[in-house]
């Protein structure tokens, strides 16, 4: 068998197990369900490894594997295949999806053990993995769109997994609809691409675009902007970020997999994938950087004000993806991907950890009702600490430091970078450290307020530990020049994505690194002061309006409510019964009116009839003679 056909198996296996679970789910035991659900992902992870090995073996020569599975659409000049292609970019994503995914699946077996919907859960999860793999492996943009929507669907299904609570359903729909808004813009962008170039193959499209479109031409800008809209929706960036915090209504493994590690970074993938297009539209690319910067700040502040453990993580996710966008915006492609990978490790870890906390505290989400958990669940504490440290980019030991620093550096140093972007990044980094350790101190230190009802099993802690290790050492695949100058990751990525262009500003990287390390540490220390040493400092802030403003996500929800939701609902209410119906009612009224009118003449009186006779003949004769 050709090695490349393995690629098709990647999405096929989880899809198959999804089918099995969906069709025969009720005949399977809970154990078998978990086995199939997690096992299939395990196999895929293994397969990814095999493919990766193969890939690395032939590295210098072959950059892309492609496999055509079947002809999908053939209409007019639109010819689309179900076909996958694998390059290093996809490979990184596949790796994250399958490995992190596998760990999360493993974790889920324990996490969902008592939930009656476990079969549904695993079915959806598997479907998600399949869709996500399709997304990253698709060799044409329509197939990518298929995966794109597929993950959206799974996200919807899993957010609303506990369907009995109407709020969950609301959150799920919100997520779907908001991302759908972005997707619609994106599909229009796809239309433009197809209409202009007559193909939907991403590779060809990019070639043709760079050949035919002038840089900065309006069509390129429009197309790039439209695709960006899709990415913004999916990756929960400004102004479409509001769905993600609500999406935490789903089970924690879902948050970990979909709303932290993989799906939300699809936007990053899309932009990276179509990077040439964005290079042709520098305005849009710069807008990405700005959006990223703004988002990371806004989300950072919001995270600081949250009470709900998972919402903190959610805002943190938004913020971190903001970093990735910032990186994309300044053309630091591989930095973005690097941060994506590291982020996947530590954010999955954090979510899983949070999941354990919440689970053992009987669905307690409020961090202020937790506390002192350090002793009671040491494994969770340590892994959570590692995750938070990585998130805060504590220097040297954490992977997050390497990835984030790279972004910060490029935010300033790349050709389109600027000081302002760097300042935003560094403020964000400070905020990150602050809220991360706010979490740690409030949840794990201090006096305990709620007692855990049981201890988490091995199946849950092992993935935590693995992820914690990855969060620590993951960063060593890419070391800055000032510190080891080891770049296998960016070399890998640069097979596909362009190299970041650096302004000629001399070797200041070490300075920036030091600065950010200090900032991160300051953040941690400040958190220690405010939230542990002198909680009164934070308490006063907790009730301020500003805090509430931050907590409500800067009022975006409210704004959208008044601007969009209220008018739409109003519109649908005022004309519920379809005012066109009045046309019919009017006509039938008219007919009935005429009927009653004419009916008067049919009153049975002979002389009336005679009168109508005579009037009729009078009219006829007068008309005929004197018209």
């Amino acid at each position: 068998m050709e090695k490349s056909t393995f690629i098709a198996l990647l999405p096929a296996i989880p899809l198959f197990s999804f089918l099995v679970l969906a069709l025969f789910g009720n005949k399977l035991s809970r154990k078998a369900t978990g086995f199939i659900g997690a096992g299939s992902i395990g196999i895929v992870a293994l397969l990814t490894l095999i493919i990766a090995t193969e890939f690395f073996h032939s590295l210098p020569q072959i950059k892309t594997y492609t496999v055509v599975v079947w002809e999908w659409i053939n209409a007019g000049n639109l010819k689309v295949n179900i076909s996958f292609s694998l390059d290093s970019l996809s490979l990184v994503f596949c790796f994250v999806i399958t490995f992190v995914g596998f760990l999360i699946h493993l974790y889920s077996i324990a996490f969902m053990a008592k939930d009656e919907g476990i079969k549904r859960f695993f079915a959806y999860m598997n479907l998600f993995v399949a869709s996500m793999l399709i997304l990253v492996l698709a060799d044409n943009i329509l197939l990518l769109y298929l995966g794109w929507e597929g993950v959206g669907l799974c996200s919807y299904l899993l957010i609303g997994f506990w369907y009995k609570e109407p709020a969950n359903g609301y959150a799920a729909r919100k997520a779907f609809i908001i991302t759908r808004i972005g997707d619609t813009a994106m599909i229009i962008g796809i239309f433009i691409l197809f209409i202009t170039f007559g193909t939907v193959n991403i590779h060809e499209l990019m070639q043709l675009a760079s050949a035919k479109w002038a840089s900065g031409s309006s069509i390129a800008v429009i197309t790039a902007a439209l695709l960006l809209c899709g990415a913004l929706g999916k990756s929960a960036q400004l102004p479409l970020q509001t769905w993600l915090p609500d999406a935490m209504a789903g089970p924690s493994p879902v948050s970990a997999l979909i709303h932290a590690a993989t799906m939300v970074t699809a936007g990053v993938y899309l932009i990276a994938r179509t990077n040439m297009l964005f290079s042709l539209a520098p305005v849009v690319q710069f807008a990405i950087a700005i959006i990223g910067a703004l988002t990371l700040l806004i989300a950072g502040f919001s995270a600081l004000a949250q009470h709900d453990l998972k919402r903190i993580l959610a805002y943190s996710t938004i913020s971190q993806i903001g970093y990735m966008f910032l990186a994309l915006g300044v053309g630091a492609w591989s930095a973005a991907i690097f941060h994506f990978m590291i982020h996947a490790f530590f954010k999955a870890l954090l979510f899983l950890g949070a999941g354990v906390v919440i689970l053992v505290l009987d669905e307690e989400h409020d961090i202020f009702k937790m506390g002192g958990l350090r002793k009671k669940m040491p494994v969770v504490f340590w892994t959570f600490l590692i995750g938070s440290a990585s998130l805060s980019a504590l220097p040297l030991i954490t992977a997050g430091f390497y990835s984030k620093d790279q972004i910060l550096w490029f935010a300033y140093s790349s050709e389109s970078g600027s000081l302002w972007l760097w300042i935003a990044g560094i403020v964000g980094a400070f905020l990150t450290a602050l809220y991360s350790f706010r979490m740690i101190f409030i949840v794990f230190f201090g006096e305990s307020k709620t007692l855990p009802s049981f201890n988490a099993g091995k199946l849950m802690t092992v993935p935590l530990v693995i992820l914690a290790v990855l969060s620590l050492i993951g960063g060593f695949v890419e070391l800055p020049e000032s510190f080891g100058n080891f770049h296998p990751f960016s070399k890998l990525i640069e097979n596909v994505l362009p190299v970041v262009l650096i302004k000629d500003i001399g070797n200041l990287e070490i300075l920036f690194q030091l600065l950010s390390a200090v900032i991160a540490l300051t953040g941690v220390y400040l958190a220690y002061i405010i939230y542990f040493k002198k909680p009164s400092l934070s308490a006063s802030f907790n009730h301020s309006h500003l805090n509430r403003f931050f907590e409500k996500g800067w009022g975006f929800d409210k704004l959208y409510d008044t601007l969009i939701v209220v008018p739409v609902v109003w519109l649908s209410e005022i004309d519920k019964n379809d005012f066109f119906d009045w046309m019919n009612i009017g006509l039938s009224k008219l007919a009935l009116l005429l009927n009653s009118l004419f009916s008067i003449t049919q009153n049975g009186k002979l002389r009336w009839y005679l009168m109508s006779f005579v009037i009729g003949i009078a009219f006829i004769l007068t008309f005929m003679l004197y018209k």
Binding site: A618, L621, L625
Partner: protein, 172 residues
């Protein structure tokens, strides 16, 4: 001769007006007979002596007698008070107006005729007879059938029911 025509016309119109406006049925019928007689004079003047005779005999004679017979039979005199109520003077207005319009139309139509020329000569009753029994023979036969139908119908409709049910009982 024209004078006679106008006199006859005047009488005819006058008596017709009287006929349609009397409350008493018998009076009205007598005026009607007068009107028919006047018209028969006109027929005579229009070189139709035979028709004039027929008018007197059949119309004024037979048909009107039939009327009088029915009026007598139903003893309509009793309903005189009703007639008074029915014959509200205002009720004349609209019908007269309508008929007036039609008459004006007819008058105008006639004034447009213009080129009608008068032929001289008479139509003798003999001619009428010959025409009736040659050209229009089939018409006469049909008229016979028509009369037969009339007779049967009049018989059927006027015969009383043997079984008398009260009309209220007949209702469904």
């Amino acid at each position: 001769m024209d004078v006679f025509f106008y006199i006859a016309v005047a009488i005819a119109i006058f008596s017709t007006i009287m006929a349609i406006s009397r409350r008493n049925a018998i009076h009205a019928l007598l005026y009607l007979i007068l009107s028919l007689l006047a018209v028969s004079v006109v027929f005579y003047l229009l070189s139709a002596p035979f028709i004039a005779a027929l008018e007197v005999i059949i119309y004024a004679g037979a048909i009107m007698v039939l009327f009088i017979f029915v009026v007598m039979m139903l003893n309509i005199g009793l309903e005189k008070s009703m007639e008074k109520k029915w014959l509200n003077p205002r009720m004349w207005i609209i019908p007269s107006l309508l008929a007036g319009i039609l008459l004006v139309v007819l008058f105008l139509a006639l004034s447009n005729v213009g080129s009608l020329t008068e032929n001289k000569g008479d139509i003798l009753p003999k001619q009428v007879g010959i025409s009736l029994f040659s050209t229009y023979l089939l018409g006469v036969e049909i008229a016979g059938i028509l009369l037969m139908a009339g007779v049967i119908g009049a018989y059927h409709l006027s015969s009383q029911n043997k079984k008398v049910t009260h009309r209220f009982l007949e209702k469904k």
